[in-house]
């Protein structure tokens, strides 16, 4: 079989996307395996709702399929583009979930500290995800986008429709709350004092 008709794990995401855009259905499977799991994890971390997270993942991937024929090589990486789409979709849902602009609502009270006691998973990352789930939507979104997705504060502000100072405040409060939630599991999580 000629080289140009084979798919390889070493092919870049962009090469696969271009092949899909040229009508090669086999490239889609590799792209799904490479890109979709991280998108689903991102959406789940932001939304804390498995069904909504899957919807966001499906919509983001569908947009990737649709843009494939017009994809311009040498620009943004497909994974970066896809994550931006997923962040947009997820934060839109967060904003609709609250019904009004995120910046117009007072931050709700912190959840009960005892909630962390109900966590049963010993894995550190699992515990982190579970602690994130206990944060209010805005704090969680700010922490996830800043510390798990690597967005800048102005980028987060644009996604959430709030000011940069509000993002800084949300991130700081979110991290403080996370530390409190994880404090009770310090030994279990492998921390040392």
């Amino acid at each position: 079989m000629p080289r140009d008709t084979r798919l390889a794990m070493t092919d870049s995401d962009e090469a696969l996307l271009l092949r899909y855009g040229a009508g090669d259905a086999a490239a889609a499977r590799l792209l799904v395996e490479r890109l979709a799991p991280r998108v689903l994890r991102l959406a789940q971390r932001l939304l804390q709702d498995p069904a909504e997270a899957e919807d966001v993942t499906q919509e983001a991937m569908l947009r990737l399929w649709r843009i494939a024929p017009d994809w311009q090589p040498g620009g943004a990486m497909p994974s970066t583009w896809l994550h931006r789409v997923a962040v947009n979709l997820a934060t839109d849902r967060l904003r609709r979930r609250r019904g009004v602009g995120l910046d117009t609502i007072e931050e709700p009270d912190d959840p009960a500290p005892s909630a962390v006691d109900s966590l049963i998973e010993g894995d550190r990352r699992r515990a982190l995800d579970e602690a994130l789930a206990l944060l209010p939507d805005r704090q969680r979104a700010a922490v996830v986008l800043r510390h798990l997705e690597g967005l800048t504060n102005p980028e987060i502000a644009a996604h959430l429709g709030i000011g940069v100072e509000a993002v800084e405040s949300l991130t700081a409060r979110g991290k403080r709350r996370l530390a409190q939630l994880l404090e009770g599991r310090r030994e279990e999580l492998g921390y040392e004092r």
């Binding site: 899909y20 855009g21 040229a22 009508g23 090669d24 259905a25 889609a28 499977r29 792209l31 799904v32 395996e33 979709a36 799991p37 991280r38 689903l40 994890r41 899957e54 993942t57 499906q58 991937m61 569908l62 399929w65 649709r66 494939a68 024929p69 550190r124 990352r125 982190l128 995800d129 922490v143 510390h147 798990l148 997705e149 690597g150 991290k175 996370l178 530390a179 994880l182 404090e183 310090r186 999580l189 492998g190 921390y191 040392e192």
Partner: protein, 128 residues
């Protein structure tokens, strides 16, 4: 887990960094199936490969479409008819067509005309 008491006293930054780079869980099979079905449904149509039908269509367009083809067919049939029912050798055909016999001078009559010869001699300035 590594942590720095001065900059990360509660180890949270290290935990976040670990979570950021950790591989994600595999997709739920049902979701993966939906994603692949979407990909198949949205698959762009590949560029068509050259086919006999396409070649014929291209050739037909090159001669002016169906009217061109009809004209070429008529010309071909006419040639075939001429080939089968033709009047014979080309010289005979030309003779029939232009009626050469009627137009050509009768050389024997010309040679027999002495008056004509004398006239020609007079014109040429020769005398006997």
């Amino acid at each position: 887990m590594t942590k720095t008491h001065d900059t990360d006293p509660d180890g949270l930054d290290a935990l976040l960094a670990e979570a950021r780079t950790a591989p994600p869980d595999a997709l739920p099979p049902a979701l993966q199936a939906r994603l692949l079905a979407d990909a198949q449904a949205a698959l762009p149509r590949a560029a068509p490969r050259p086919s006999l039908r396409g070649w014929i269509a291209g050739a037909l367009a090159g001669i002016g479409g169906a009217p061109g083809l009809a004209g070429m067919s008529a010309a071909g049939l006419a040639g075939l008819w001429i080939g089968f029912a033709g009047p014979g050798p080309a010289a005979e055909l030309a003779a029939n067509a232009w009626n050469v016999a009627l137009l050509a001078p009768d050389l024997s009559a010309f040679e027999a005309g002495h008056e004509d010869q004398a006239l020609l001699d007079l014109i040429a300035g020769t005398t006997e």
